[in-house]
Amino acid sequence: MGVTLESDTESNMNEGQTLAKEPLSTLSAVPSPTLLASSPGLPPNPPDSTSEQGSKTKSVLRDLRKVSTQRIHRSERIFQGTLLVGGLFVLALFATVLGVSLVEAWPSITKFGWSFLWTSTWNPHRHIFGAWTYIVGTFWVTGIALLFAIPIAILSSLFLSDYSPKWLVGAVSTLMEMLAGIPSIVFGAFGIIFMVPLLRDQVEPFLANTLGRHWDFFNGDAMGYGILAAGLVVGIMVIPLVATVTRDSLVMVPRETVEASYALGSTKAEMVFFVKLPAVVPGIIGSVILGFGRAIGETMAVLLLIGNQASIPTSIQDVGYTISSLLANTFTYAVIDPLYSAAEIELGLILLVISLVVNTLGRELLMKLMGGRLAGSVGGG
């Protein structure tokens, strides 16, 4: 439970007990036994430099004790109050985030009401704003990212926990965690330099010629930019997070469970996939939720790759717009017009609420599973 330093000691009292009227500090010092019976070589003590050195030491301490009684009592109060201010800073910061978002979004909230959510028109000139296009775009990118990332992340965490040679595990796990820290702008630049040409010249024509013959969903103009590029790059960013958290829950599967499975004649794969994997489903859900939280707020990589067009995608090759990329791209123009900026901030508020809910869910779930410790994983945009 950590160190619980409860402050209000008086509150521990109960009516039932006899209450002393005098504080202990005022007790006349009962000549208490002391080990300082004789102490040679003491510094001269101001008032009564008598012959008895021992009692001098004792009185030094007694005097100090009387003084410090007062001091400790007061400083304790001040100390508690001072610490509280530190906590209040954090509360104030949260209030600022929520307050600024709410206040600045208010004109849009009052003007459009709930219909803001499902209106797909976004016309700054005619002052009609609706979130639907951007909500859909955001979920497309997040969805593609997770569809790509989850299987790879879970399977590779199984590889790390059960299949890889021991010497590889430590190094590779560390490497993965470190690569998870690469800033998203670097992922975005990589996407433009490498992913976009790859998708444009290879993957998208291939998709159109195979699956696209049967489903329009896979057809398109093969531009490279679009929800697929954004989704895949965000997916790459999310893999280390999901894999790391999943692995952390995999190593917590009790050894007995594993041995019980082997003792019944399981092959290794049967143990891993039919015993171990089901045992960590809550952990996997938690890691996926955290991955979702990371993906949905992702800004820079998406901004560079999605194409930034306010249309609802109908094909995987389409371009689109997400809430975060819209804000990063146009907010500095929007601030000139109060309603325009309010509408953008209301979009931001939607994103904020989703992120807060999702992150809270993921954290609560994983905290329960892992006893309170969780690697700090923050979205870097």
Partner: protein
């Protein structure tokens, strides 16, 4: 019971094949997971190497479009300025709040603070940008009216760091053995004396780790800068007002890669490599620190 319910001894071919395939599948997935991450570093090096040199780190951008010549000195200096400002805000506040959460950990107010601090960890970076804009940058309404400036951006990044430092500080203090604290209390130490003289010294590596973790998290932040600072091709003389913007590595990459210029793309990739290496080195430092503090904790029993 029917006779011969059990299959014959030994593994059926199906089970053998399945065992091998599933194992192979995990290996393939692992390769798929790691390759793109390594590819990012390789691509940055491969496409950026033409621009890499020592002078790339020490010269300011020049030429037209701006940046086609010169290097990223403005970005390196600017990023440093931002990190220093962010730390000046977040380290005292975060450590302070972490102490509060540890000391009064079970009071309802502390529980609420912990929850909200955790929620702040999940705030998307664009939202931080919007908040920073209204609190520091905008020239109308409430706020500080500092314009697009290094101070505005640095403090916004400081906001992002606060909950990270808070949580890691609290955790580091919790890792100080309870017996250690009780030993001091039983000698009649006040809690202030315990905190200053024992708890903080014992948790100092953990707290340092938290600070570096916070720095790591804001180092590559780009979105908040779009709202509060934007970019500067030079090194600013002041950090507030209309000429107060600073350069920044991440913004530099963003601006260069956005331009339809092959030359700037080369510079962007070189800068991306530099930023990535800084981040990885910092990460390595954090791991060493954490490793060190674990050793330390073991020694304390």
């Amino acid at each position: 019971m029917a006779e011969n319910v059990l299959p014959e001894k030994g593994l059926s071919l199906y089970r053998k094949v399945r065992n091998a395939l599933l194992g192979a599948l995990t290996a393939v997935a692992f390769v798929l997971a790691v390759t793109p991450l390594l590819a990012i570093i390789y691509v940055a090096y491969d496409r950026g190497k033409a621009a890499l040199s020592l002078s790339f780190l020490t010269t300011l951008p020049g030429g037209f479009p701006v940046g086609i010549e010169g290097g990223i000195a403005n970005g390196i200096v600017g990023s440093l300025i931002l990190i220093v400002i962010a730390s000046l805000l977040s380290v005292p506040v975060g450590v302070w709040a972490g102490l509060y959460l540890w000391d009064q950990s079970h009071t309802p107010l502390a529980k609420a603070t912990r929850l909200l601090s955790d929620l702040l960890l999940g705030v998307p970076s664009v939202i931080w940008g919007v908040v920073g804009f209204y609190v520091f940058s905008t020239n109308t309404g409430y706020g500080f009216h500092w314009g697009f400036s290094g101070l505005a951006a640095g403090l916004t990044l400081g906001f992002i760091m606060i909950p990270i430092v808070t949580r890691v500080t609290e955790q580091a203090l919790r890792d100080v053995p309870r017996s250690y604290i009780e030993g001091a209390l039983a000698l009649g130490a006040s809690r202030f004396q315990v905190v200053r003289g024992l708890a903080i010294p014992a948790a100092i590596t953990g707290i340092g780790t938290g600070i570096l973790l916070g720095v790591l998290n804001v180092l590559g932040q780009t979105a908040p800068l779009i709202f509060t600072n934007y970019y500067n091709t030079g090194i600013p003389k002041n950090l507030v007002g209309s000429n107060g913007s600073v350069g920044d590595l991440a913004m530099q990459i963003f601006i260069y890669i956005h331009e339809p210029s092959k030359g700037l793309h080369v510079k962007a990739m070189a800068a991306a490599l530099v930023l990535t290496l800084i981040v990885l080195l910092l990460d390595m430092g954090i791991r060493l620190l954490a490793w060190g503090s674990r050793k330390y904790a073991q020694r304390m029993g």
